[in-house]
């Protein structure tokens, strides 16, 4: 382009052949411009920022290992007799899908390793997506302008669960068949349309002969394509918004403090991919996952003890286990107008998951409405500095974990030698009480940590050195913090409750009153950061720092 546009200036001619080829491509693609732009992109450095990367890398590993598996997997539900090399299943009647999964495990070179790579990275994928979302939530990174990206992340979480579940069902072994049976039961419990959906999905009565092929198409085509699309949107928005950063000296909402992508960070990230790959490969090499040969072919009659879904569906299974069939004398399963309404399946299967995802998707807007905060935020909150949000998050987390634990209630019972019934009763109680306790305790801990920060900011760190003053008093010497450390302890916002404000017509409507109430609930317990004046007062006599802080020590009870 430049060569034709400016005929006077001699075109740049690279010295080597490789250079000339590169230049040829660059003049037509403009790669160096993109690289220049991206290479200067600054990313802050913190270990908790890397879970999204872990998720991305696990997804790449999933694509690679999954492609290998498709070469050998046959999603047919036609009946066959096993003729592979695993003796305890010799000549057993099974589906072609299960037989081909066994062949991958025992007769394809490297097949078992690749299956285990695929499954372990699937578990790691969903786990890292979850931890990433927890990090984003607890640091307030979902605030403006990143609300939409938070929603995209939520969709990715659901898609990753869908990808996991469709994959879990493919081998057509007893475990995956039991999982599908539960899904079928949940679908059938939906009033009126449930049975129709089930027949549509399975192509007739469960299990039918169609479901594996259908799930296979979803698993290898639709769901990964959607995940890829969402990842592209997600990363695009990360580039547009730039990365958030933890509070620190010199960091504000107008800048990003960190390292440019190229060259060090790109090398680190590239290396990290191989680290993740290596960790997964080692796990796949040394630890069994989903030993399908243990479970045998699917047959609707047997159910094995210890049958559970993979961890990310576990909370739904746990909720199903916790739900009583009869409460007092009231049967949860009701017959109305001659139709059975199976609420003891419908409620636990859909309601907790529905609540979790509804709150997850709407939370940025809920908090925005309560706080009336419409500013852009690029500096994160330390979790302790947003006590109510942190407490809400922990309440949800504990609620999830109670259901999650319930999915392993049988193993809790056998391994801790307690009664399965007692485990269930305790978890039922915790299902209701646990989130409340978690909320209160978390909020108290967050406030206590804020007080500790405030005290350290004002009076320095305890050195453990005891000094006796001339008049006999003993004091402990406090060492002052340096400014960088102190900034971290005082440089945060602590909003106070926002009272109800009249609208344009000068009326305080009831919605606004509700908002004000919530705002008070959100912010009434607060520990304000130490102000410059307070800091100056605390360090008033710079020369006698140690003595001064000793004297003011008693007055510290904000």
């Amino acid at each position: 382009m430049s060569a034709t546009a400016t005929p006077d200036a001699p075109a740049f001619v690279a010295k080597t052949k490789g250079g000339r080829i590169t230049n040829f491509v660059d003049e037509r693609v403009g790669g160096s411009g993109i690289l220049r732009e991206f290479g200067r992109k600054v990313f802050p450095d913190h270990w908790s920022f890397m879970f999204g990367e872990v998720a991305l890398y696990s997804f790449v590993i999933l694509l690679l290992s999954g492609t290998f598996l498709t070469f050998f997997f046959d999603p047919s539900m036609a009946e066959t007799r096993y003729a592979g090399s695993y003796m305890p299943l010799k000549n057993v009647e099974m589906s072609v899908a299960y037989s081909s999964s066994l062949n991958i495990s025992f007769d394809v070179r490297g097949g078992l390793f690749m299956r285990q790579v695929h499954h372990w990275s699937a578990l790691l994928f969903v786990a890292s997506v979850s931890v990433h979302m927890l990090r984003v939530f607890f640091t307030g990174a979902f605030r403006k302008p990143r609300e939409m990206n938070w929603v995209v992340g939520g969709v990715l979480l659901i898609l990753s669960m869908a990808a996991g579940f469709t994959g879990y069902s493919l081998p057509d072994d007893l475990l995956s068949g039991n999982g599908l049976r539960i899904i079928d039961g949940v679908i059938k419990s939906i009033p009126v349309i449930g049975t129709y959906i089930s027949f549509f999905l399975f192509g007739g009565e469960f299990p039918g002969t169609a479901i594996i092929g259908r799930l296979y198409m979803l698993h290898i085509l639709l769901v990964p394509a959607l995940i890829l699309l969402m990842i592209v949107m997600h990363l695009f928005m990360v580039v547009v918004h730039k990365h958030t950063q933890y509070p620190g000296p010199g960091r504000n909402d107008g800048n990003v403090v960190g390292y440019p992508l190229g060259p060090v960070y790109a090398a680190k990230a590239g290396g990290f991919f191989f680290i993740v790959f290596g960790v997964i490969a080692l796990m796949a090499g040394f630890f069994t996952i989903n030993p399908i040969w243990n479970y045998g072919p699917y047959d609707p009659s047997p159910v094995s003890a210890g049958t559970q879904p993979d961890w990310y569906i576990g909370f739904v299974d746990g909720a199903l286990r916790l739900m009583p069939g009869i409460i007092g004398d009231w049967k949860v399963e009701q017959i109305w107008f001659g139709h059975v309404f199976t609420f003891n399946v419908l409620l636990p299967a859909l309601v907790p998951a529905g609540i979790i995802f509804t709150v997850l998707f709407t939370y940025p807007w809920i908090e925005r409405w309560i706080t009336k905060d419409t500013r852009e935020h690029h500096v994160l909150d330390r979790p302790r500095n947003a006590p109510t949000r942190t407490a809400i998050g922990m309440a949800g987390f504990v609620w999830y974990c109670v259901m999650w634990a319930a999915a392993g209630s049988d193993l809790i019972a056998t391994h801790f030698h307690v009664s399965l019934n007692d485990v269930t009763y305790w978890l039922r109680a915790l299902f209701f009480v646990g989130p409340v306790i978690a909320f209160v305790v978390t909020k108290r801990i967050a406030l206590a940590l804020q007080r500790k920060d405030r005290e350290i900011a004002l009076h320095g760190r305890e050195t453990g050195r005891i000094v006796r003053l001339p008049h006999g008093e003993f004091i402990e010497v406090h060492a002052p913090l340096d400014e960088y450390k102190r900034y971290k302890l005082v440089g945060f916002e602590s909003p106070s409750p926002l009272p109800a404000e009249p609208n344009a017509n000068g009326v305080v409507d009831s919605k606004e009153k509700r908002r004000a109430k919530l705002s008070r609930w959100f912010f009434e317990d607060r520990v304000a950061p130490a102000t410059p004046a307070e800091l100056a007062a605390a360090h008033g006599h710079g020369d006698h720092e140690a003595i001064e802080s000793g004297e003011t020590q008693k007055t510290l009870s904000h």
């Binding site: 003796m87 786990a127 047997p302 993979d310 961890w311 056998t414 399965l420």
Partner: protein, 261 residues
């Protein structure tokens, strides 16, 4: 015949018929129920039973009563057979350590000879399942058929990989690795603790042999995919990825970012 038909309306004819019917059914039942017994190969002799009686009176009678007739603390053992004694005493479950939902396995308290004597004594009290013959325990049956029987009949409590599982109120189905074929067989025919009895009509002796073959084969095979994480299914896998997998990854992320911050 004529005399018989003439007396068919005799007032006692109904009673006589009833008696005959009872005798025939009872007799048939006795023959049928000792089919297991008929396979007894244990070389019990009167001396064994006598010695066993002494051992029983000293160690077991406190709960099971004199003459094994049962008490409030323990059931009667008349008719449980030698197999039940060999299983319970041979695996250390009896004498019971303490009352609870279920007796735990522990090192056997009696040696083989004493166990045999106790079994002989209990077997002498009434007919019951006997100790299986060696031919059924040779582990040379059809493992695949045994696997199918195991998944249909046993896996819901014992887990498809025989790793054990929970039952209600503190009871449990134990893991089966390391249990001898003889004890597995005896458990099936006697139904110890909370286990149901799998009589020869439920699962034929050959079927039981296949199950034992299957269990021994999967135990000998080990875990083809590496450490089996207890063969407990997705719960232990999930625990592993969250603690070990993510733990190692986090260690690396901290290492990668530690030099700059």
């Amino acid at each position: 015949m004529k005399a018989l038909s003439q007396k068919r309306r005799h007032p006692l004819a109904a009673i006589a018929l009833l008696l005959m019917g009872l005798l025939v059914t009872g007799g048939l039942y006795a023959v049928a129920s000792t089919v297991n017994q008929a396979k007894a190969t244990t070389s019990t002799n009167a001396n064994d039973a006598e010695e066993g009686g002494k051992l029983f009176a000293a160690n077991c009678a406190t709960c099971h009563g004199m003459g094994a007739s049962g008490s409030q603390s323990g059931p009667s053992l008349v008719g449980v057979g030698a197999a039940a004694v060999d299983f319970q005493v041979g695996t250390g479950r009896m004498p019971m350590q303490m009352n609870g939902p279920q007796a735990y396995k522990k090192p056997a308290q009696f040696n083989e000879e004493q166990t045999r004597q106790l079994a002989a004594y209990v077997a002498s009290l009434g007919p019951g399942p006997s100790i299986p013959e060696a031919g059924l325990l040779d582990e040379k049956g059809d493992a695949a058929a045994g696997g199918e029987l195991f998944r249909t009949n046993c896996a819901m409590c014992h887990n498809a990989a025989a790793a054990g599982g929970a039952l209600t109120r503190g009871k449990f189905a134990p893991a089966l690795a390391g249990v001898s074929g003889q004890h597995i067989y005896e458990a099936m025919v006697t139904g110890p603790q909370n286990m149901p009895v799998f009589s020869d009509a439920n699962i034929s002796p050959e079927g039981k042999r296949d199950i034992i073959t299957f269990l021994k084969q999967i135990e000998a095979n080990g875990s083809p995919g590496g450490a089996d994480l207890g063969s407990l299914g997705p719960v232990s896998e999930g625990l592993f990825i969250w603690i070990a997998g993510l733990g190692v990854i986090i260690a690396f992320t901290i290492w990668l970012t530690s030099r700059t911050s």
